[in-house]
């Protein structure tokens, strides 16, 4: 650090501005005590206070008749019928993972799982969305391997399967990797509980691990600042995970809820007891007393501030009626989980902190939560946008299309993710009926005919080029992935990863992205029920690509009708739902511009430019309706959405997963090389590759007329090669090795 800490006022060391410090003084009518200053610095941090996002997030649609709990709780909850509900939430753990990848990612899983069982749900499955820099660089390899291993070690130990996810490698994430963890859980509707404190005189019970000095300042120092050369100094702000204790905590909490012993339940995440207690009190419109001398400690000599803000993992806070306390203790004791009364609910409207008999802090609850400052930074379109959106000259495309395809399919962003998911237990709980590697994972719901489809999608490169369109595409692609399995999209949970929100360019990206998400979600009528904002994803002043990730859940009424990516039977017809990208009469420049933002342009020509594909929301809906209706009618053998890498990569993936070939004849009328390259590799939206029996083509045609969607028959499943016109002719067996082993060879 350039300055010694002595030169910097305490509030500034804690991440507060001078005007925020003055506002605290005005609220309290005096100078804040140490404990209070520590508490305000966390509650008013970006991470807890959402000060740069709260006003913009109001644009998102959040309600629908089946939404039981929207944003603002530990997780969103939707009703799926038959008395069952699903809790869903995604959350970032980017900065901890960039500092210490294994523990950062592991505790990211631990945190999101706690959010789920805090709602009374049994964690059912996890997903993740990851971003790193160039995986051939040693530090990026270290981060990637550490994160995957950390996610696996925590989730596997808990017995929560990790069923799906996505990972992309782009230079923009080199100084600031992204680790977004998503979990869903299932609950009987009757067990739904919230973190809303109630009942004056009720007791506050802290359950789980003892409190130590780990993770102090995680939310402020780590999550709400950019990275610079002090990165490694921030290592002590990363918490350490203990999945065994979390597993016991899950069992204990669910048993407590089944026995109806709790009035409210919340998890301890960022800012520890401070945020959990004040947010619970705020939601309930009550006051809360906390006595830090009662908190079981891992090490002696911790100050009241340290106890209040420690981010020690695997802890929960419950509100309990006094007469239930002994029963609560008995259940916790059975599971070997300490449970201690540390406070009570009051009518003061204040959070009062005691150290034994001495009151060491007293703050109006509402000043910590709803009255946290809000900043509206003027959004200004960043300079780079105009520059990158221009398409350069039409390059010379490599003649050998087979070699191009081989290079694409073995590239870090398109190759098989088997190396990752083999390290995750993706089957425990015996619900996973579509394993990782299809468009969405599908879980059966034991005891019903239903199934759940789960996916998480984002495309930072598109959002960098056009945050509005890129975010709309993320929503559309997630919905397409859900639909391709035969499920109806139900709800979104979003993780919004951006740079420093105090900058006008980032403010612009953020607002554009939210506008795009709001419009797309409204169009598809899919509510956003939970989410998380992660700002300050910058290192040395350089921001990551704006990266909103969209977690989505869909419902299948009949899980037996689920459909998967791989081609199944020789002789099946292959259909393209949607349209060809090019039209007759376009110039080469116009045709080439359709490759804007594509994986092809990046991998083969090292160019990141242009506009992302256009998205026509009505056309998208019609394509999705056709695919979904056809699956519901039981006539599709396979379905796969077209996204990264375009039509040819989608076709090849259906071949590779199915261990079978395909012969394709594309109707490209003019014999233009530019045109065929663009048709194969452009990433035009609203399209699927599906296969079906020839006898069902008539029925498929009828459905397409009903929903008004386009499709064309483009080929047949069969043989052991993928053949496209006279341009592509590759052996599936020979493509399999580079596709399957690309990550192994990168990291080993």
């Amino acid at each position: 650090m350039s300055k010694t800490t002595r030169d910097v006022p305490k509030y500034q060391q804690l991440g507060l501005t001078s005007s925020e410090y003055e506002a605290i003084g005005r609220t309290l009518g005096r100078e804040p005590e140490d404990v209070e200053l520590a508490i305000y610095s966390l509650m008013w941090s970006e991470h807890c206070g959402y000060k740069h996002s709260r006003s913009t997030l109001k644009k998102l649609p959040t309600t629908k008749d089946y939404v039981l709990q929207g944003p603002g709780e530990n997780a969103g909850v939707i009703d799926i019928g038959e008395g069952k509900a699903i809790a869903i939430k995604i959350e970032s753990h980017n900065h901890p993972s960039a500092v210490e990848p294994f523990q950062g990612a592991a505790t990211g899983v631990g945190g999101i799982v706690r959010d789920i069982f805090a709602m009374g749900a049994r964690p059912l499955a996890s997903l993740n969305s990851l971003r790193f820099g160039d995986p051939t660089k040693p530090r990026q390899k270290y981060l990637f391997e550490g994160v995957v291993s950390g996610i696996g070690s925590y989730g596997n130990c808990l017995g929560v399967p990790t069923v799906a996810g996505e990972v992309y490698f782009e230079d923009s994430y080199e100084g600031n990797c992204l680790v977004n963890a998503m979990t869903i859980g299932i609950l009987p509707k009757s067990r739904l509980i919230t973190a809303k404190a109630k009942g004056i005189g009720n007791l506050v019970v802290l359950m789980g691990s003892k409190t130590g000095r780990d993770g102090i300042g995680g939310a402020s120092v780590l999550a709400s600042q950019e990275f610079d050369e002090t990165l490694q100094e921030k290592r002590p702000s990363v918490q350490v995970g203990d999945p065994f204790t979390e597993k016991l905590l899950i069992e204990a909490c669910l048993e407590l809820l089944d026995k109806n012993l709790l009035a409210a339940l919340g998890d301890l995440g960022a800012a520890g007891i401070t945020s959990s207690a004040s947010e619970m009190a705020s939601r309930g419109g009550v006051g809360i007393d906390i006595d830090v001398s009662k908190v079981p400690l891992r090490e002696p000599g911790m100050s009241p501030s340290e106890i209040m803000i420690s981010e020690s993992q695997e802890r929960m806070l419950a509100v309990v009626e006094p007469k239930m306390v002994s029963e609560v203790e008995a259940v916790c004791n059975k599971w070997g989980i300490p449970a201690t009364v540390v406070g009570k609910i009051t009518e003061t409207g204040k959070m009062d902190v005691y150290d034994g008999k001495e009151k060491v802090g007293s703050m109006p609850v509402i000043s910590l939560t709803d009255e946290a400052p809000i900043y509206d930074i003027e959004p200004i379109m960043p300079e780079y946008i105009k520059e990158v959106q221009k398409m350069g000259d039409v390059p010379t495309f490599p003649e050998d299309m087979n070699a191009t395809l081989l290079k694409m399919i073995g590239s870090p962003n398109l190759c098989s993710r088997g190396w990752i998911w083999r390290q995750y237990d993706h089957q425990v709980q015996t619900n996973t009926v579509v394993l990782p590697g299809s468009d969405s994972a599908v879980l059966r719901l034991k005891g019903t005919k239903k199934g759940l489809a789960l996916t998480v999608d984002g495309n930072g490169r598109y959002c960098y080029l056009d945050p509005f369109m890129g975010t709309q595409i993320a929503v559309a692609e997630a919905a397409r992935n859900i639909v391709a399995t035969g499920a109806t999209p139900m709800a979104v949970t979003d993780c919004l990863n951006f740079g420093n929100p105090e900058k006008s360019g980032i403010s612009w990206q953020f607002r554009k992205a939210i506008d795009g998400m709001a419009q797309a979600c409204r169009h598809f009528d899919i509510p956003v029920v939970s989410g998380n904002v992660s700002f300050y994803n910058e290192s040395f002043g350089k921001a990551i690509y704006p990266t909103p990730t969209v977690g989505m859940i869909g419902l299948l009424d009949d899980v037996e009708k689920r459909t998967t990516t791989p081609f199944k039977d020789a002789g099946d017809l292959i259909l393209l739902i949607g349209q060809m990208a090019t039209v007759d009469g376009q110039s080469d420049e116009e045709i080439f511009s359709l490759l804007g933002g594509s994986e092809y342009l990046k991998t083969i020509h090292k160019r990141i430019e242009g506009l992302p594909p256009e998205l026509d929301l009505d056309l998208e809906s019609r394509s999705q309706d056709l695919c979904l209706e056809a699956i519901k009618n039981g006539i599709l053998s396979s379905a796969h959405d077209i996204s990264d890498g375009g039509l040819v990569v989608a076709l090849l993936e259906s071949c590779l997963y199915g261990d079978i070939g395909a012969k394709i004849e594309l109707a490209v009328e003019e014999e233009s090389f530019v045109k065929i390259v663009v048709e194969l590799f452009n990433e035009a939206q609203s399209r699927f590759i599906v296969s079906l029996k020839e006898k069902d083509l008539g029925e498929f045609g009828e459905i397409s007329k009903e929903v008004g969607a386009d499709f064309m028959v483009i080929g047949k499943v069969g043989g052991d090669r993928l053949i496209i016109n006279d341009k592509i002719d590759v052996s599936i067996k020979e493509m399999k090795k580079p596709w399957e082993e690309a990550i192994d060879s990168l990291v080993e």
């Binding site: 070690s153 596997n156 017995g159 597993k247 016991l248 998911w421 390290q423 995750y424 089957q427 425990v428």
Partner: protein, 231 residues
């Protein structure tokens, strides 16, 4: 037939195993690690998971659970015991089965479906399998690299105690076919008297068509049929 699934703190496949057994027509009960009785069951199953977090050697803490004394007595008197994955590790630690587990040779956790060859189909756990039949069952572990000294291995082989071996798609026990590096490709084995069976694969994950394989059901059903034949 009555089966009991033991729950240790950190077990996480107990529900899957319970559901699989009930699906296959067993009358199934849970047994808590602090229980002192086995509830008069005919078959005891130690399920998979991470007992005590696997923070020490896998199974090294769970073997001291109160219920383990009862399980030892049950096994000594000829009762049928199956240890799956972490349950297998507990049986090794408890000395009810010979040998030990090392970390996978890749030093990575592995979750995937493997081919297993039935090496001995005369046991109460395999009588519904053909000789040399190939079963497709998922594995899911970090410590499944079985090890025993030369003398121990000879004894296992001489007594036909090796029950399941990792094989490739042609049924050959090649070195590459054992994803974890297990000695002699051993995936499952029994004690000398053939009533205690430990295996790394998870048969409870392969009992229904919807899960992709029903081969695991054969192992459970063998136990059921052998018991019914006796009674």
């Amino acid at each position: 037939m009555k089966a009991g699934v033991v729950i240790f703190p950190g077990s996480n496949c107990e529900t899957d195993t319970y559901d699989a057994l009930n699906y296959l027509g067993f009358n199934t009960e849970y047994i808590w690690h602090r229980d002192s009785s086995l509830h008069k069951v005919d078959l005891v199953i130690l399920p998979g998971g991470f007992s005590y977090g696997d923070y020490l050697r896998c199974g090294a803490v769970a073997r001291f659970s109160e219920i383990m004394e009862e399980i030892s007595r049950f096994a000594d008197s000829g009762g049928l015991v199956i240890g799956i994955c972490n349950g297998f590790q507990i049986l090794l630690e408890a000395g009810l089965l010979p040998g030990a587990m090392l970390h996978n040779k890749s030093l990575k956790f592995i979750c995937q479906t493997v081919n297993l060859r039935v090496e001995n189909n005369t046991l109460p756990f395999t009588n519904q399998c053909g000789a040399g039949e190939i079963l497709r069952i998922p594995i899911n572990h970090y410590e499944g690299n079985y090890f025993i000294d030369d003398e121990g291995l000879k004894e296992l082989e001489d007594n036909s105690q090796v029950v399941l071996r990792y094989v490739d798609e042609n049924g050959e026990a090649t070195a590459d076919a054992a994803p974890n590096g297990a000695l002699a490709n051993i995936a499952g084995l029994t004690n000398k008297s053939g009533n205690v069976f430990g295996l790394m694969p998870h048969p409870e994950r392969a009992v229904e068509e919807i899960l992709g394989s029903v081969d695991g059901a054969k192992l459970f059903l063998s136990a059921k049929i052998s018991k019914e034949a006796v009674s």
